[in-house]
């Protein structure tokens, strides 16, 4: 019996290893081909690179090439992602809190409105959104397209429904007594929220931030509409599409750009694995 189990375990481990290697194969292809020169990659995309030093040369080319604008895209992606994460999570927690703590008809209606946002696909609002952003500019003079704040407001709008829903569910389970005691002690509403409620919400903050970070960092269609392709502010996916989508395919440099986009995320994942997996799975089981 014990022997049979051992054999089964070894067979399953080997099977898993084969599937694992197949899953890793595209990454392997990216890594070996990022270290090749343009002729080398055409000759043979499967062989080991002649000189790994070429990887550094390629990275430098991508980083400084004016047609790619990689350095500025990294900055823009970072600003947009961090700005959106901060605002989505804090604003949604604030909204969810007052919606839970004020049980009125208005609250129910507003909550339902947020929830209905969960089923609306981006495609159905994308064209009018761009045109409405233009209207806002005409009426108020505030630029919404091709700006950081316009981009971040768009992410708050699309990110709020799920985040409000998740905070709402959690806040419902927090007893009110703590907040009531704080009120008697003379704390104002903002003090209660930021000093007492927010620390309790920490696990939901982690989940909301992880779910939104992966979405926003990799998002393409929304930023391409709000920021435009080839404009001053562009995210990494836009930069890659702009560069790799062009007619002449410089695969050596495309693979390098792909590696540069994927590597930081994978490294971050390796360190925060447990949180990321937990956050993403609990976010799906809404």
């Amino acid at each position: 019996m014990g022997n049979k189990k051992k054999v089964v375990s070894i067979v399953l481990t080997i099977l898993t290893l084969i599937l694992f290697l197949l899953t890793m194969f595209p990454f392997f292809i990216v890594v070996i081909n990022s270290a090749k020169a343009s002729l080398e990659i055409i000759m043979d995309p499967l062989k080991r690179p002649d000189d790994w030093g070429q990887l550094w040369t390629n990275i430098k080319i991508i980083w400084t090439k004016p047609t790619v604008k990689y350095a500025s895209s990294v900055l823009s992606s970072t600003i947009i992602t961090l700005g959106s994460l901060l605002t989505i999570s804090v604003f949604s927690a604030m909204a969810a809190w007052v919606l839970v703590r004020n049980k009125t008809k208005t609250s129910t209606v507003i909550f339902m409105l947020f929830i209905s946002g969960l089923i609306i696909p981006f495609q159905v609002v994308m064209f009018p959104l761009v045109s409405f952003f233009r209207v806002i500019h005409e009426v108020t003079g505030i630029h919404m397209l091709r700006t950081y704040h316009g981009m971040i407001i768009a992410y708050i709008g699309f990110g709020a429904p799920l985040a409000v829903f998740m905070f709402h569910g959690f806040i419902k389970s927090i007893p009110k007594e703590l907040e009531e005691a704080a009120t008697i002690d003379g704390c104002s509403k903002p003090q209660i929220f930021f000093k007492i409620v927010m620390p309790i919400l920490k696990p939901i903050f982690v989940t909301v931030i992880i779910l939104n970070a992966i979405w926003i960092w990799n998002d393409f269609l929304l930023p391409s509409l709000v920021l435009g392709v080839g404009q001053d502010i562009q995210t990494i996916p836009i930069a890659i599409q702009n560069f790799a989508g062009s007619f002449v395919k410089k695969w050596d440099l495309i693979m390098t750009a792909v590696l540069m986009a994927a590597a930081p995320v994978i490294v971050l994942f390796i360190f925060l694995q447990k949180h990321i997996i937990k956050g993403m799975v609990s976010g799906s089981i809404k």
Binding site: S9, P26, Q123, P161, I266, S284
Partner: protein, 299 residues
């Protein structure tokens, strides 16, 4: 005091609610209106009411019907391949094997890669790596295989890339469900002499039925809305002949809607198609959840 409370109520709601109204609610309402006009999105040009003309045009447009069919096909096969792979992964990494956490993380990693980046990786594989592998293995058929020039192979290429991206994520949901199966139940079945398939059918399968409601919903919705991978991998091509008409074989609905609006410069028709897209997606996904929930109870 009461007044103060009301003030804070709206102050706390304002940032999220106003953004949501500006970005989702108002454009949604505008979109319904625009779909009934000859809207062009050109500044200063007034749009005129045309009733259901855009919707009528859509139903007589062959490209739309074709795109619809291809999207359904892509979605149906993706749901099967993704869930199949995810279940296989999940079964393997919840068994008594070595390094299971390492494997679990490995299967999950492609999910961190965005559709655009991922699409170019696979475009390179299909265009350069597959022929090179054919040369290594001495298989001329593989060496001359132009996957992205063949409509059927391109469809499967897209499904493969999407499965690679998504199966690891779906696996995690199945893993969570499988770990919830009580060990005592399986041991009790062992004592009663149940074989693997018995145990699978009577214990494990009902236990993962709930997970299946979630995973099939997620894969269905995400396959139906797929845009990024297609744009980077095949751009909607290659073109094909279908019933005597020229069609873009991998132009799924999300790509089709965008192309109608921008490439063919017909914003109002694109918007009408987006609304039908939304309606179909809602009906299919709600119907699917309803059906699975019902089955869950019966099991």
């Amino acid at each position: 005091m009461k007044k103060n409370n009301r003030l804070y109520y709206w102050l706390f709601l304002a940032p999220a609610l106003i953004s949501f109204l500006i970005v989702v609610v108002i454009p949604f309402a505008m979109g319904i209106y625009y779909s009934l006009t000859d809207w062009t999105a050109v500044a200063g040009l007034k749009s005129n009411w045309v009733g259901f003309a855009n919707y009528k045009a859509m139903f007589s447009d062959f490209a739309f019907k074709y795109s619809f069919m291809r999207t359904f096909l892509f979605t149906a096969i993706s749901v099967i391949t993704i869930n199949g792979m995810a279940l296989l992964f999940a079964f393997l990494v919840t068994r008594e094997i070595k390094f299971k956490n390492f494997f679990r993380a490995g299967f999950f990693i492609p999910n961190l890669i965005g559709g655009i980046v991922l699409g170019y990786i696979w475009q390179f594989i299909f265009k350069s790596v597959v022929p090179a592998a054919g040369a290594y293995l001495g298989i001329p058929a593989l060496e001359e295989l132009l996957i992205l020039a063949d409509p059927t192979l391109t469809l499967f290429g897209l499904i493969m890339a999407f499965t690679w991206q998504y199966a690891g994520y779906i696996m995690m949901i199945y893993v969570a469900a499988l770990l919830n199966v009580p060990q005592e139940l399986l041991e009790a079945a062992d004592i009663d002499g149940a074989n693997f398939f018995h145990k699978f059918k009577s214990i494990t399968l009902p236990m993962i039925a709930q997970a299946f409601t979630i995973t099939s919903f997620l894969t269905l919705v995400n396959a139906f809305k797929q845009y990024d991978i297609i744009i980077a991998l095949s751009k909607g091509g290659p073109s094909d002949m279908y019933k005597g008409e020229i069609v873009n074989s991998s132009e799924m609905l999300a790509v089709h809607i965008y192309n109608v609006a921008f490439k063919y410069n017909n914003m109002a028709e694109g918007q009408a198609r987006a609304i039908i897209f939304f309606l179909v997606l809602s009906v299919v996904s709600i119907g699917q959840v309803y059906y699975n929930k019902k089955r869950e109870v019966e099991m």
